[in-house]
Symmetry: C2
Subunit: 218 residues, 2 copies
Amino acid sequence: MATQEPEHFRVTYNDVHNLIRASAAKIAEFKPDMLIAIGAPPSARSEDTGFFPARVMRTFLKSPERKGNIPIHAIGLSLYESLPGLTAEQIGAQVIRTQWLGPESGALLLGRRALIVDEVDDSRKTLHYAVSELQADVERALEALPESERDAKRAKFAVFVVHNKLKPKLADLPADLPYYAGEEIEDVWLDYPWEAQDIEEHDRLAAEGKKKRAASAQ
Amino acid sequence: MATQEPEHFRVTYNDVHNLIRASAAKIAEFKPDMLIAIGAPPSARSEDTGFFPARVMRTFLKSPERKGNIPIHAIGLSLYESLPGLTAEQIGAQVIRTQWLGPESGALLLGRRALIVDEVDDSRKTLHYAVSELQADVERALEALPESERDAKRAKFAVFVVHNKLKPKLADLPADLPYYAGEEIEDVWLDYPWEAQDIEEHDRLAAEGKKKRAASAQ
């Protein structure tokens, strides 16, 4: 008997588009004035990038009150595999910034409301490091300001992911950080459309998968 | 009688995906080892960004010989409107880098084969500035090397756009620069899927448009 394939969860472009559309109303309450897309470094096992979701999110965050587009910035992080027994500090040292917001990252973020965007929240490690590193930049930039001005200038962060996998996470996000997920899913094998060679076949299998899931839910 | 609307040319996600797929075979001959996505700044009239095309392009440039993914970097350019009678130097001074490859941009590019990616080539100004600025960074970094090593380390650039509009261009690209377009189109009003509020309606109108164009071509 053949070994069973891991369950694939295929997502179409229009699925992703509509998940972002459905999330945008809630996210608008956070009033982001900046999107930070996380890009996967070349050495990463995963190929997640927030580039596409960030671009679509900008469409749905447009409002008549806001002049111009919300800017999209990109950051790249490279994480080393963690070893058992590492302290938080040692884990922090395992991050390399492969691309960042520029030499004045902290100053750029002062007073901003930044929505950090990624495809999928798997182990939560990348998101953890992105938030910690960005917050550390802000704290360094705040030190140059008089103490009385710091609270008003402290950047606010929020996170949006298209999919959040319901599984034990290897890292945390600050408890008060607004967190938005387009969809919560089991720990399945996610196939995104931008990784498909044959997009028509991908869509066909995605439709089949939806039917199967609907049938088994009854 | 109502004024006639400008002709809309609606493109679906799968259209873009397949245009990139069809271009990737030719582009593979250039052997890019780096993708540079152009992001539109918040003040831009156009909302073009190369984020999504770059992400899909990476899928189709994967090859068994290559370990790991091709890295995607992002740059942002802000162009001021040009005034008549400006010299090339004055035009050059109108560019602001809203995000760049980092403080060591030139060094990062040494010896690389970089494919610059954008959605649409309209006036060609953004592409012109992107190429000039990146080449200038490379030349500055080359000055630190012995003259005998410079030629081998001079970065090679190529350009890919999903659509090239057939219209008079306001700026040039170097004549020897490899240039790839997914599709050449008339100067129509391009509607990309990531700008659609209602993606199902967008797809429906895109299919109608295709039928009309096919009928009028007969």
